[in-house]
């Protein structure tokens, strides 16, 4: 059982849902990333999605574009991001880490070199935004052989046929993109999400994490009731941007944002 499957199963047994924060590795500075990851865990994260910065993040809105730029200004590379995970693993052997990013840095590193290094560092899953399962036949066996979970996206536009096909190529969980749009761009509609996630669950059995548009504890709690996990990105990255000059204030601000989500998700529905 992969670390992601283990966490998902434990949560399910406890009747809880996964809280999955996203931050861009190297933002605001590569030296701070491992510390921020530990902060997220202390504030209640079950799984961390660690963004790999890319020069052309086509599926992201301005908040994460700027995070990529900040990380790239300091020369953050895919190899360094993997090294951050290795460092994180020295003191945290339980929190799954999913690398999230775009394909080209992985192409440049070489698929096999990437898979080896990621598995060695203790990476658990890989979500590549611009790699649909149809183009994943080269990487899939490399990931499978190293117990790396391939995480794929589903969207409001995903047909039933594709839901089935995507689930057959996925393990760990699937990431449901709640809105048509880029990250950080619109407000989530809980009823629509509930309906679509219920529909997805009729077709496949993997846990469904929901992301895009979740900014506060109330929304996190509402989404957690209709899914298996809540993915929070832009609002955290925006907080990092606002406190980039002051690491202590940043840790506190991230905790103040994430912890209430944890509490709200774990409270019985009122």
């Amino acid at each position: 059982m992969s670390r992601i499957e283990g966490v998902m199963k434990t949560l399910k047994d406890q009747g809880r849902k996964a809280l999955i924060p996203y931050i861009t590795a190297g933002d605001p500075h590569p030296d701070q990333s491992v510390g921020l990851m530990h902060t997220l865990v202390k504030a209640g994260a079950d799984i961390i999605e660690l963004g790999v910065p890319f020069s052309d993040p086509m599926a992201d809105g301005p908040v994460i574009q700027l995070a990529c730029e900040r990380a790239l200004v300091h020369g953050t590379t895919l190899r360094q991001v993997i090294a951050m995970v290795k460092e994180f693993r020295k003191t945290d052997d339980t929190t799954p880490i999913v690398l999230m990013g775009y394909l080209n840095p992985m192409v440049a590193m070489g698929y096999e070199a990437f898979a080896d290094a990621a598995a060695d560092a203790g990476v658990d899953g890989v979500l590549t935004v611009d790699l649909p399962h149809e183009e994943a036949d080269e990487v899939a066996p490399l990931f499978a052989a190293r117990n790396l979970d391939p995480i794929f996206l589903m969207a409001p536009t995903t047909t039933d046929e594709r839901i089935k096909a995507i689930s057959e190529h996925s393990s760990g969980y699937v990431y449901y993109v709640s809105i048509k749009g880029v990250t950080g761009s619109a407000t989530i509609n809980v009823d629509e999400v509930a309906e679509k996630v219920a529909h997805i669950r009729e077709i496949m059995a993997l846990p469904v994490g929901v992301g895009f548009g979740i900014r506060d504890a109330d929304t996190a709690a509402a989404i957690s009731r209709v899914s298996d996990g809540v993915i929070v990105g832009s609002v955290l990255v925006d907080t990092i941007a606002r406190h980039q000059a002051d690491p202590d204030a940043l840790n506190k601000a991230l905790t103040d944002l994430l912890h209430p989500m944890r509490v709200a998700m774990d409270s019985p529905a009122s």
Binding site: L103, N104, A108, M109, E135, T159
Partner: protein, 406 residues
């Protein structure tokens, strides 16, 4: 290692997943997959539909003014001192470039799909103008994304688009050029995927765009083939076209790919010189990677971050290239070369002064290379340059380089 291509092989490409050998494909986020698959399905149906094709052909004739002439450039030939140089006059098309062939086709597709809102990216502004033009004609809402840097250096085209009723979005992210315009067009498309048709201007992007843009632009090569046989009594020995994304080049090359005797030269933007790194020549100096939905040659750093490009011409200032060109390079069917900014500017002046034809700065790259190539060939040989666009839009740039205020 050149491969003999047959009509049959060419018909099978791209394959069902949009691959040209190791290149092409569909590398986009999930939200767009259904739209791309619908577009592919509808296009494959319509491309053999008699009514669709008849409408397309009629528009090309009556609205664009096709066929464009194939012109023997006698004085340029003398000046070069070798092979005969002929010019395929895409600059005479309505809106002044080859781009309109494709926007007519895609706007027609959009109408068949019932989409009322059109988006497009543009570099030099020629594709933006061509898109705004067909939108005006069909009464469609038009949004053009253009890098803020390009908005500055192609202000004439920006104003043309506005006159045509388009909204021009100046893109401030990244390098503020064509690649960033394409990023923002993709972002808009994801958010408005239900009612919006994205008219991509070149043979790049996710499948089926490289296929359908190539098909719409292939009218250039089909006409050239017919005209060469009628006017010169033979096929050309060499074709020369500039390559940014590569739509005018593929349009010229594709109908000749099975003609073994026809050599092909795609001319990339060498900028300040390949050795300086300040250029936009991924086929000459890049390596395969994935950007904007397809696997192709790219300019990038060793960590896979897309590199900033440089070219005097905004239309060639792009770090990628259409995947079919990447394939033609790897199988050795077409040659990819580069000329510098300075050589292109010389080409611009030469064609202007010797033939009275002012080419776009993009096109000037092809002119500069063809003149060098002609000198190495016998006088009974024939070169066709694709004059992909006219240079009116570049007059400000040229004047500025000359230190003249106009």
């Amino acid at each position: 290692m050149s491969v003999k291509l047959t009509e049959e092989m060419l018909k099978a490409l791209p394959d069902a997943r949009g691959h040209f050998g190791a290149f092409g494909g569909r590398f986009v986020s999930e939200t767009l997959m259904d739209s791309l698959m619908t577009l592919e399905r509808e296009y494959l149906r319509l491309k053999d539909d008699a009514e669709f094709q008849a409408t397309f052909d009629k528009d090309l004739a009556d609205y664009v003014g096709r066929p464009s002439p194939l012109y023997f450039a006698e004085r340029l030939t003398k000046k070069a001192g070798g092979a005969q140089i002929w010019l395929k006059r895409e600059d005479l098309n309505h809106t002044g470039a080859h781009k309109v062939n494709n926007t007519i086709g895609q706007a027609l597709l959009a109408s068949f799909l019932g989409k009322k809102r059109i988006i497009a990216e543009t570099g030099a502004g020629q594709h933006g103008v061509a898109t705004a033009t067909v939108c005006a004609r069909l009464g469609l809402e038009c949004h053009v994304f253009m890098g803020a840097e390009d908005v500055k250096r192609q202000s004439l085209n920006v104003y043309r688009m506005k006159l045509l009723g388009a909204t021009v979005h100046a893109v401030q992210s990244g390098t503020k050029t064509l690649k960033d315009a394409m990023n923002d067009a993709m972002r808009d498309w994801v958010a408005n995927v239900d009612d919006t048709f994205y008219i991509i201007g070149t043979v790049a992007g996710p499948h089926p765009y490289p296929l359908l843009v190539r098909d719409f632009q292939s009218v250039i090569g089909r006409e050239t083939r017919r005209q060469a046989l009628a006017q010169a009594g033979k096929l050309p020995d060499a074709l020369v076209a500039c390559v940014g994304g590569g739509s005018n080049a593929i349009g010229m090359f594709h109908p000749f790919l099975a003609d073994e005797t026809v050599e092909m030269y795609g001319v990339e933007a060498g900028g300040l010189g390949i050795e300086t790194g300040q250029h936009a020549a991924p086929l000459c100096a890049g390596r395969p990677g994935v950007l904007h939905g397809n696997r192709t040659y790219l300019m990038e750093d060793e960590n896979g971050q897309i590199a900033a490009t440089h070219s005097v011409s905004a239309g060639l200032d792009y770090p990628g290239v259409g995947p079919e060109h990447s394939w033609l390079k790897d199988i050795g069917r077409a040659h990819y070369v580069s000329v510098t900014d300075d050589e292109a500017l010389d080409g611009f002046r030469m064609l202007t002064q010797i033939e009275g034809i002012m080419p776009a700065l993009e096109t000037a790259h092809a002119v500069a290379y063809a003149v060098k190539l002609a000198a190495t060939m016998d006088k009974d040989k024939m070169i066709v340059i694709n004059i992909s666009g006219r240079g009116d839009k570049d007059i400000h740039t040229i004047a500025q380089l000359d230190g003249i205020e106009i």
